[in-house]
Amino acid sequence: MSTLEATNVGHQVGHKVVLEASNVTMRFGGLTAVNDVSMQVHDGEIVGLIGPNGAGKTTFFNCLTGMYIPTEGTVKLSGEVLPPKPLKVVRAGMARTFQNIRLFGNMTALENVMVGRYCRTSSMALTSVLRGPKFKREEAATRERAQELLDYVGLGKSAELLARNMPYGDQRRLEIARALATDPQLLLLDEPTAGMNPKETEECMHLIFKIRDSGLAVVVIEHDMRFIFQLCDRVLCLVRGALLIEGTPGEVQSDPRVIEAYIGGSDDDDDEEGTK
Amino acid sequence: MDAFAQQLVNGLTLGSLYALIAVGYTVVYGIVQLINFAHGEVFMIGAFGALSTWLVLFKGQTGLWVLPIMIIGAIIASVVTAVLMERIAYRPLRNAPRLAPLITAIGISVFLQEFVRLFYGRVPFLDFPDAKQKVPFPQIDVVTGKAFEIGNVTIQRSAVFTVGALIMCAAALWYFVNRTKMGRGMQAVSQDPDTARLMGINVDRVIVVAFAIGAALAAIAGVAQGLQVTNINFKMGFLAGLKAFTAAVLGGIGNVWGAVVGGVTLGIVEAMAVQFIPGTFGGSPWKDVWAFALLIIVLVFRPQGLLGAKVVDRA
């Protein structure tokens, strides 16, 4: 574990603001799922998003990726307000993975990544049917880039495996490769280590560092605290839809409110320091 | 004005018929999210069930007293068909991709039509008419015959029967859904089937009940149709089913009252279209086009229907 710490400590966060979410609020009917949350992410930075179940992390995530249109507030990527459409968000340079892996199970690993290249390629019906040199070039380039990305995440040898046939940890990494194929500036990872064993988790951490080192900004939602505190440059803790605290892993980890939110405040009357 | 009132009456009659069939679509959809495309055929079989009952038990009789027994015969035929359909064809596909049950439904629909067409006239020991063409439906005293005239507006007796049947069925359905344990169970399953199972509700049985209720109402509609148009045929379920489905969507599929409102609305729209759309695009030949156009517009712009509040994610 110490090696990991070292990687993180020696690292310099960039100065360009990649993602800026300001005062995002999301209401469903009477229920406020996200309440006035703001967040900034710089290039080469890993930001963690934590909070107990039902705290609104996933909803916030969906606001960022264009799945939901926030009731209030804006989300900017490199200074541009994001269009509220997943498709356009991807084009703008934000890619994501899913909490429950959503790979295209009956496609091979390579094909999965090639789908990720979809928005960066352009051949349409006519070119596809005519198969001119441009089409062949683009197809070859897509394949090559996809293979590269598979190698990058360490799945180079599994290119021809059906996604559904891959081990759980590999599926997670494949999902990351697929997301990287869209050439993002910012990568959103939704519980990337859920269901992983410690070894896989560690490999995953290495991979995220590698991605960060290539200059991407990374936002991670996680429940595995050990993982998040080792990984992130900054951590935000959401509770009941609102931002509870934002700070370095050390600050957050030692904050009594976070401890209360997680392990659970005691609910007896004689023991009430945590609650208000 | 007379024309308007007259077409309102026509539309209401037609709409009541649609509504009775539409309930079947909506109840089943509400519970299993399945468009039972073959429901129109259940309606058709109801009509043939009523006719068979009459032919076997009361041939030649026209007294009003035979009507209830005919209706029971119709209901038995329809319910048995619907329940078998669910059990044999749909249940094994409950977790299959959505394409499978829809194609199955088309298959059942064609099969049932052809089954009636080919074999109705060949039932052993019974002298049933050949069903390859239109078959005359018995005309019963009181509910058929000379129409009522109110001013210049004609109200046919069968129309009174149809609207009356709808009102009674709607009331009975309301009571069942809201006041009985099984009805509550149905509502629970439609809102959250998994949790309903945790309550001890046998989801399979609820689904069967849903099919049965839809079938019973469709059977009554079949009788009403027979009385109104004086003949029935093996194809009558296709268009009627499609229109009823339109009605169900119009009202908000899954919502029983939506089916009623949607049915009546569609009926009135159709009748008015015949009378009031001017020029060459008006009149009877285009009325189905308007009905389908309405269906498409509703599906595209308000898929939750007139009464539906919740936006359904159909992905």
């Binding site: 991807v90 090639m114 | 269906l295």
Partner: protein, 563 residues
């Protein structure tokens, strides 16, 4: 899935008897072909004579030989084969063959089962033995890595032999009538099913995938040669033209259903659009549009108009999906039919002549080549329909080209992604709406082209050809054959168009059987007869064995490609 199977214990103890059972059964089946089947000499081209096999008797002997061969194979099983499965299929087919012919062809047609002679009962016993042999054979997992490795020229020979066989089978089948035709079909299904079921099917697929170009070439050569086998007769060519038109349209639908995963229940409208455009701009005296451009222009206009309709009909996909979309398309299909029915000048403008349609469409004439006339090529007489057949062959080649190239491209990957998980696809930057629209537009355009030709082949166009049932038939061709595959749709279209032509006796039961078929297919083999691997996986999400097999085959293909 409910399968009639024996317990593993029974198989373990009696498995060793399987080869013998198969051979004895096969011998009995073989023998039955030499015996008399019927006391009445009028059925099945006279099968009452002993030791003089004819028609159906020869077919059953082929089945017997197949069973014996499988029995031999069972004793020395190659690792990539499962003769047991083949025997099961063959056993069922033999039993079906015997019962159908005994009960209907002989019993029903001659009016008495007493006319049945010893042949078929013997075959029945044989069939049961073959089935038993299949059932007691222990279940094996296929090891496709042990596929025989042939040199590429040998593989091409395999393909050529396959194709030659196909040509022979089709030409032979078309020359048959009624019960003999059924017998042939049953034999074909049984033997082909048995052979392919042993695992050879997967292997042939592999060989085909390795030699795509020779395979295609051979296939088209076979199709091209077909009219020359018809001895100048146009009767079968007429059916063949219809099969191609139907298949081309079904392939268009397959882009929508098979590739994009959208259900379209009004697809026949696109064929209709093309046909009406073709008719309205033809030289027919009933044509309603004064402008009569050359046919190639008409074809282009037909496809453009159809594509435009495709875009209109597809546009609700932005907001509607799944069953709702299916119903929307059904609504559009009905509106099309009603509009064609109505637009006769009384109700709306005079475009279509209403229910009477546009008759009297003249034959095509390309640079002096009149499609209506017979032409003699290399001593072979080609009639009117043979001319159109050859033209349509070009059309379907084009359709197949479009279909397969789209499937194997960036767009094809996008479609698969949409089918697998629409929201994930969108989150990966796939233009879901655009791709769905494209599927509708391309499919519709292809159907539109087919329609313009159809107008000339049929010489008339009327609205009653474009009813919902026809859309259901198109869908059935796709579903029956196999969603997302070319071969599947060709097979499905041929079956659906050919059977009613050849089975006039049971024609009244055609639709009944059709409905039943749809239900049964969805229940037991939703992916279709010739399934695309991916579709098969989609429909059998939890069949791990299938997944493993597919994986292995895919790896082999990838290796072969890399070479």
């Amino acid at each position: 899935m409910s399968k009639l199977t024996l317990s593993d214990d029974v198989r373990a103890t009696h498995g060793s008897k399987a080869p013998m059972l198969a051979m004895v059964g096969g011998a009995l089946v073989l023998l039955s072909g030499l015996l008399s089947w019927s006391a009445d000499s009028t059925v099945l081209d006279d099968v009452s004579v002993r030791f003089y096999p004819i028609g159906a008797q020869i077919y059953i002997m082929v089945m017997g030989v197949t069973a014996i061969v499988l029995g031999v194979l069972l004793r020395k099983r190659p690792a990539w084969m499962s003769p047991g499965r083949g025997l099961r299929i063959l056993g069922w087919a033999t039993i079906a063959f015997v019962l159908l012919l005994a009960l209907f062809a002989i019993g029903y047609e001659t009016g008495a089962l007493a006319n049945l002679n010893e042949g078929l009962p013997v075959a029945l016993v044989g069939g049961v033995l073959v089935l038993l042999a299949g059932m007691v054979t222990p279940e094996v997992t296929l090891d496709v890595r042990r596929w025989p490795k042939l040199s590429s020229s040998l593989e091409i020979v395999v393909i050529v032999v396959m194709m030659a066989f196909l040509l022979f089978a089709v030409a032979h089948a078309l020359s048959l009538e009624s019960w003999t035709f059924i017998a042939f079909l049953l034999m074909l299904v049984g033997v082909a099913g048995a052979v392919l079921g042993t695992g050879i099917g997967g292997y042939l697929g592999f060989v085909g995938a390795n030699n795509r170009r020779p395979l295609l070439l051979a296939a088209f050569l076979v199709a091209f040669l077909f009219p020359f086998t018809q001895d100048g007769s146009d009767a079968n060519m007429s059916i063949a033209t219809q099969i191609i038109i139907f298949a081309a349209t079904a392939l268009g639908l397959n882009i929508v259903v098979g590739l994009a995963g959208l259900l379209d229940l009004g697809y026949i409208a696109f064929l209709g659009t093309g046909a009406y455009v073709g008719a309205m701009m033809s030289q027919s005296a009933f044509a309603t549009i004064g402008w009569k451009p050359p046919f190639l222009v008409v074809m282009l206009i037909g496809s453009l108009v159809a594509a435009t309709f495709g875009l209109i009909i597809g546009s609700p996909t932005l907001r509607v999906s799944g069953d709702y979309l299916a119903i929307v398309t059904l609504g559009f299909g009905e509106i099309f039919r009603l509009a064609m029915f109505n637009l006769d000048g009384n109700n709306g403008p005079k475009l279509t002549n209403g229910p009477n349609g546009i008759p009297g469409i003249p034959d095509l004439n390309f640079f002096g080549f009149d499609f209506g006339e017979s032409h003699s090529i290399a001593g072979f007489e080609l009639g009117r329909f043979a001319n159109y057949y050859l033209l349509l062959l070009l059309l379907i080649a084009f359709v197949i080209l479009v279909f397969s190239r789209l499937n194997d491209s960036r767009l094809g990957r996008g479609w698969v992604a949409i089918r697998e998980d629409e929201r994930a696809a969108e989150a990966m930057g796939v233009n879901v709406f655009g791709l769905k629209l494209l599927a509708f537009a391309v499919g519709a355009a292809l159907a539109g082209i087919a329609g313009t030709i159809k107008a000339h082949v049929d010489t008339s166009v009327s609205p009653d050809q474009y009813i919902f049932l026809e859309s259901a038939f198109l869908l059935a061709a796709v579903v029956l054959g196999g969603m997302g595959t070319v071969v599947g749709v060709l097979v499905g279209a041929s079956i659906l168009k050919l059977l009613p032509e050849k089975l006039r006796e049971v024609n009244d039961y055609r639709l009944l059987a059709f409905g039943l078929l749809l239900v049964i297919m969805m229940r037991f083999r939703p992916e279709g007869l010739v399934a695309s691997k991916r579709r098969q996986l989609e429909f059998h999400e939890d069949d791990e064995e299938l997944v493993a097999l597919t994986q292995q085959e895919h790896l082999l293909e990838a290796q072969a490609e890399a070479k």
